[in-house]
Subunit: 667 residues, 2 copies
């Protein structure tokens, strides 16, 4: 088809010297290969009732991954089995579990347990909770996750960011020193609500809500939180007794330097030695991944050595504060401590939702990362239910908020974990610790916990990502900085709010000020591209072809109207000087206009009206399905008429220019 | 070019029976017209430094309309004159002002004055302010607007929605009955901050912020507000003395029916008669626009007649409450009443910003509507400065918030207004009233104000738009309903918040769950379109061509990855049953992907990696400038390699299928 009509050549554009058979000579400036005479109709999408299209839309929103595709065309029994496997993934892999897998899981489980025990104690302190809560939280949730979770490599337990935020939000209103019971109650209640919120998000398939924390802002947020947490640990590392409760950088630094008299040199020397030891171990493992066990074993080793040192020299080092007595025994039930009415209920809910979102973000991101590394998929919504249920159950068994931790999962993977059984192994090790080894922590110095926390959170400062952000996307970089400084100078929760706000603002900004580009023909083809970008793309005389690169919405329709009129004005001014054919027709290429709303439709008809008054024709090209449907329903198509809508720019130009010619040659 | 190569026909797709010279036979199912052998390179946009691209971006955000284009290439004096004309549009039209124009302006000015006087008094009561404030507000602001505004037809003064919201927000915390002076102070202060906010928006060229109130939600909001206002007027119409201060529909209706003893039949009869009279006049003018003066004169006529009736029968109708004594004289200065410190400052600022936004939205929308009707343009940012300055000046001269009113502007236009002088004529008429006619209002009954307000706000219920919303866009319709019921059942300001929230949520929803469509070739062309929509578009064997209809963002990259993998899975399942060539290559058409961020880039490379493991090739087609730039900067292009990026789908298929063929025929 493209062959037969190429002898029709554009000659109204003032290039009469090149008439006839032109399409065979390439690269002449405004030569246009004529498209087939046959003009293709722009189709409406297949008709659907309001109910059908609503159903389709809702299924795209809530079931984009089509989780039920396995259930199609199956017998009832098979469906039942599949359903059980869907809700308890353990039934999926347990039947094929082998001794070889178990061996790998034992090794990795023991490895992460050696990390989980000191981390649990440390992170509980970060949330201003008794250290034992951290151990409890490393026992019940991992077992539940092993039953419910779809990731094979997630190492479950308390994490730094969620602990930090819970600690900060609760302490703003309730003191953990003067009112420890209330504080503990609120922590469990917040954990309960976090779990409830997480599970509901998963059940209601609203998982996309956590997508609104963009990676760029999270990078800034985590870096800021890491710095705040590290500075807070100076309390333990320097042995300061009177330290601020605040989380901003200025009061923390003030606290450090205004209490220099309290600095204890024994603590400093010992703390710094272990910190350096831990950091070196971390570096070793980063440089040589097969030495992963160095990093994994270092915290427990430090705890053991430092405890021994303090025990042996206890008379000389009485300055050094220690964890002290921890009760032996399993998690006590705590369902009776949940706080469902009273003045702090709002605080508990707010804290729960905030930490719940943060925990989910980390858990799901970690799960996805390692799943993609090992080439399987985790189901985001199912993960949310698993994490949510484990937190709700945790809140009734003296656990605070837990999720998949990046450091533990990474070591889990490197140590060769094959299934979620490694979590069960870890939990069993914690169980043994809880039952028999608690008195050993009596002499464990607090400084070692500070060193462990600093080593853990330092990995959250991802300066390489920040450099990449600066290189690739300046706006993402600014968003990252906003979150970072928000955390450092205002507060952790404000920093988080800023992070979300900036992320959403970025989307809105893009929607409000979309790109419009002028298109030109690439000689010898039917391709129309941005003239600013493709040097050989040339304008078509008498036409102004604009590509709109955004949905046309209430939020940008005023802008687009003004911008298009400005393009027209500039084009007319440009032509005035030169001896070119005057502008006849404006073609809007709607290929990238992915949606339109009622305001956008009005803008299009209004634009057509305004341009018509200036004797300019407005033509639309290639509206996508949704847009076409709305143009049709709003009767805008009637206004544009049969020669106001084309499938391709080429066809529009061919058809309209032949009409213009006819008008020119008419008497 | 498109000619020379058409003898190269796709034969790897298992349609060997139709080989050779095929392109000349149309509509064969999977025949593909081969594109020119020459493969076009995808260009990078021209290089810009970070500073240049930032400058370009900022100028697009803040100066999209290029307000300085008139200043280019002008002498200094000319620039000065243009600058003066820019800031005071009066200098633009005053030199060419003629007596003929003045005659038109006198007629229209007097017409809107007859509307403005009763409306001013009524709206002031809506804001719980003394009636005289409404008259003051119809004097100073219109004069200032005439100097600064760029619309020729805007009728300036108090408006119902802004009055209502100011009244509600202030009365929530301060009573106008027990503390009238504080209430008045807060009203002036809120007006001041509204003006400051409006002028700042204009000066900082942030006018697009008001675009976030979509027309759909505004329709719902205004209808809800109109109903609330009308019901509130039952107080005046029924003569109830003890009425609720609340604004929700339930307490208002309760108030009406629980005080049935207070209903006064004289008030009801008189009120209803005038209400019916006003509504009839309104209908007359709507049906026959040349009788516009009927609607314009009706309120003043009603005021005069009702005042006379009350004056004559004053002994019989002492039940009917009247406006009472109003002080004679010009606006007293009120700068000393502005309240810049104290516990209510926050309230004043909040009220100011909310009413400021509402006033701007109405003023600018009205200005734009009539400008487009009369074929000129108003500059949104300049209008904001004008409205802002007039409100700041107003707050110092006993005026409360004013803006362009729809009803007054419409009558202004129909009455033949030519320039902003009609506002000056109106202000002069108000001046005469203030100086000499105030005692006449002594006997004006409050019921007439209620009737005037009802008649005015009933026009805000735009049920035809609502029907159109339902037809064209169900989501817009839901947004409209949310705002409507929010206003009715919760509160006016909550309704407004809901309106903004729903508008933004709609944008985010669209961004989070974008469309992906499968493309097919329209036989005999190089056009690739949605196979679900274009019946004759046919899939190309071995290829899966997907069109992504949205930017790829942090907010949708997880979804897109899952959705694309689902497309692949479904395509593979489809092919399994039939005897077709197996899937080799997935082509992503990025034409409609208008932006990408760092998360999106990661998704693309991740997708390439995942598909490669399944021996599927991923190819990108036609990324727009920004996307190409970021692909380049992030080194993603290196991963995709030289044959991972094409300018058109056709070229990609031609090139890749020839490669596949080579692989197939290799030993």
């Amino acid at each position: 088809m493209a062959v037969g009509n190429n002898n029709r050549v554009d000659d109204f554009a003032g290039h009469d010297e090149e008439e006839g058979g032109m399409a065979h000579q390439n690269h002449a400036t405004t030569t246009i290969v004529m498209p087939p005479l046959e003009i293709h109709k722009v189709c409406l999408p297949p008709k659907k009732t309001a109910f059908e299209s609503m159903k389709h839309r809702l299924s795209e929103i809530f079931f984009p991954d089509d989780p039920f595709h396995k259930f199609k065309n199956q017998t009832f029994v098979k469906k039942l089995v599949l359903g059980l496997q869907y809700f308890f993934p353990i039934f999926q892999w347990a039947p094929t579990y082998t001794l070889a897998l178990f061996k790998s899981d034992i090794v990795s489980g023991l490895t992460i347990a050696s990390l989980a025990i000191p981390q649990g104690i440390s992170y509980a302190k970060l949330a201003n909770l008794p250290p034992i809560i951290g151990l409890y939280s490393s026992f019940v949730p991992p077992i539940l996750y092993a039953l419910l979770g779809s990731s094979k490599h997630l190492g479950v337990g308390p994490v730094s960011i969620a602990s930090l935020v819970m600690g900060e939000m609760l302490r703003e209103r309730v003191s953990n020193v003067t009112d420890p019971v209330l504080y503990l109650k609120l922590a469990f209640t917040a954990t309960f609500f976090a779990g409830l919120f997480q599970a509901s998000l998963g059940l209601l398939r609203l998982g996309f809500i956590i997508d609104f924390l963009s990676k760029a802002t999270l990078t800034g947020f985590m870096a800021g939180a890491a710095i705040i947490v590290s500075l807070q640990q100076l309390k333990g590392l320097l042995g300061i007794a009177h330290f601020t409760n605040k989380m901003q950088i200025i009061p923390v630094l003030e606290s450090v330097f205004s209490h220099m008299k309290e600095w204890s040199w024994e603590t400093i020397v010992m703390g710094l030695s272990f910190l350096i030891f831990l950091l070196i171990c971390r570096q070793v493992s980063i440089r040589r991944p097969n030495l992963f066990w160095v990093q994994a074993a270092a915290p427990l080793t430090s705890v053991i050595i430092s405890t021994l040192v303090v025990f042996i020299f206890k008379s000389q080092v009485h300055h050094i504060s220690t964890i002290g007595h921890l009760p032996k025994g399993l998690n006590p039930p705590s369902a009776n401590m949940l706080y469902f009415s009273g003045p702090f209920l709002g605080l508990a809910i707010k804290t729960g939702i905030t930490t719940g979102i943060l925990a989910l973000t980390e858990g799901i991101a970690v799960g996805r990362t390692f799943a993609s590394l090992k080439n399987y998929q985790v189901d985001g919504n199912k993960e949310m239910v698993a994490i949510g249920v484990m937190n709700m159950a945790g809140s009734c068994t003296s656990c605070y908020i837990t999720t998949g931790s990046f450091s533990r999962s990474a070591i889990n993977v490197i140590a060769g974990a094959q299934t979620a059984v490694s979590n069960i192994v870890m939990a069993s090790t914690v169980l043994v610790t809880l039952l028999f080894l608690m008195p050993l922590f009596n002499y464990t110095p607090n400084l070692i916990l500070a060193a462990i926390i600093i080593t853990a959170v330092i990995g959250l400062i991802d300066y390489q990502s920040v450099i990449k952000l600066w290189k690739v996307d300046k706006l993402d970089f600014v968003a990252c900085l906003c979150a970072f400084f928000g955390v450092l100078f205002i507060s952790v929760s404000t920093g988080l709010l800023i992070a979300v706000g900036v992320s959403i603002f970025k989307i809105l900004m893009h929607v409000t000020r979309p790109n419009t580009v002028m298109l030109g023909n690439i000689p010898g083809t039917q391709i129309y591209q941005n003239v600013g970008r493709y040097g050989d793309a040339s304008r078509v005389a008498s036409f102004l072809i604009l590509g709109i690169e955004s949905p046309i919405y209430f939020a940008n329709c005023t802008y687009l109207q003004e911008r298009i009129l400005r393009w027209v004005r500039e084009e007319e001014e440009r032509i005035q000087g030169k001896k070119e054919n005057e502008l006849k027709c404006i073609i809007l290429d709607l290929t990238a206009v992915t949606a339109v709303d009622t305001s956008g439709l009005e803008t299009l008809t209004e634009l057509r009206r305004v341009l018509e008054k200036r004797s300019l024709q407005l033509v639309l090209v290639n509206p996508v399905g949704q847009v076409m449907q709305k143009l049709h329903r709003s009767k805008a198509l009637v206004l544009f008429g049969s020669n106001g809508l084309y499938l391709t720019v080429g066809e529009a130009i061919a058809d309209i220019s032949s009409n213009i010619k006819v008008q020119l040659y008419m008497p």
